[in-house]
Amino acid sequence: MLTDGLARVRDRLARAAQSPSDGKAVLFVVAIAVGFLLLTTLLHLPHGPEHWSADFRTAHWSKHPDTQHKRIALIYVTERTLEAYPYLSPTDRQLLADLVKAVDATGPAAIGFDFIIDRPTEPAKDAALFAALREAKAAVVVGAVNEDAHAPGGGHSYQADYLAKVNRSIGHLHFEGVHRSKVIIVDNVIRLMAKPNTSRSYPAAFAEQLAQKAGSYPKPKSEYISWLLAPVDKSETFLTLSAEQVLGRSTGPALPLKDMLNDRIVLIGGNFSDRDQHLIPLSVSDGRRYPGLFIHGQILAQIIDDRSLSTLSIWVQAIIYLLATAIGFWVGRRQTKIHLLTELVSVMVLVGVGILAFIYAHLIFPYTGVLLTWLAGVSAGYYSRPHHRAA
């Protein structure tokens, strides 16, 4: 049976190669298949309400501040910081203890500690870090990940012990955007903050906890991260220093650390080439990956600047989808042919509407839903015309 079937297919392909019209049909099918594959690569239909161009829009039309953010500073531990140490991971706990103390001495508004402490290292160094975090004068938020990751059987983890010993506010370090499903095609770009999740061991997010330490701020209107682009004066988005500079282990004159860090929210974390590096919408042009600490800084900046991106409520979206279907149906009824041009213009108009909604209303336009309902309406209108019914 199978061999007969394969033989039939082979014969048909051979005939198609000899017949010009059948050859064109095969080419057409191949072109459609390639086009469909490209479309699935670009659209990411299953998991997002937006067109792939949304990242270009975010990277070009988000807010350009005039200058560097005045409330936030980032301090990175890097491979260079650890050149003199025998191991890179886990990061030397004595170094981290010294760093926390050095930052605390500058009088920051709060310290955010973005290191996952999930395994013991050298006992004296571990104890030094715990003491530094516990005894810091500044408000401290320590980052943590879900307990499930470290104590799958529900047991007591080293992380839980550490958090109990330092006795500081805890913020989870998760972002949204990494889907584990095998069905959904994803690009692993971080676009969203973590959704509120009561099943998480630590419900409040790291940036959210830090913002609360520095004042009282409303919650963002949606989970979309409202990114800050590079400032107009071309400085870095956030004051950025390396750990060795803060610890005075760098060559050259000492930095005016007190002037630089006093009353700022100082985030301490790692910038290592092999971990915690993420794609974000700003990576769209060059594929550059950003450290998790930078993303936490962006979310924190959004909260304390009271910036938000809005999404439409489900009811408003439903009304827009109905309208798109109805207008599409009306257009379809009047078309003599379904033109590719109609579809291209539809896509361009909807991308344009999405950009305008983003710029002027800070709104995420549900591109994918509107396009699908619009095209469904056009098709339904076209094929319900009397001559089609007669045929």
């Binding site: 004066d233 400085s235 870095e236 004051l239 500079q245 760098s250 060559t251 004159p253 930095l255 005016p256």
Partner: protein, 96 residues
Amino acid sequence: MPGCFAFSRRGLAAVLFGIGLASPAVAEMQVIESNAPAYKVGQTLANNQVFELKAGERVRVLVLPGNQTRVFEGKGSHRLEPRGGARSATKRKQPE
């Protein structure tokens, strides 16, 4: 006439002194990170410094007195913006 000449010299001095007062202090930059051999960490440079960098080279500076950090990276000539300017770092045109 000599008195008039003396007055104009004093006037000129006053004008020059006034201009001196009105001019901003020359800002500086301190190199705080660098993988470019030409720019060492700790080096202090005038704010009109032009950084000549090769591909893959990166220099982070602390711009004084505002204490802002800024990064120059990649092949070409880079410098702080002129006062009031907001253009991107200029890249030297490479011969075809």
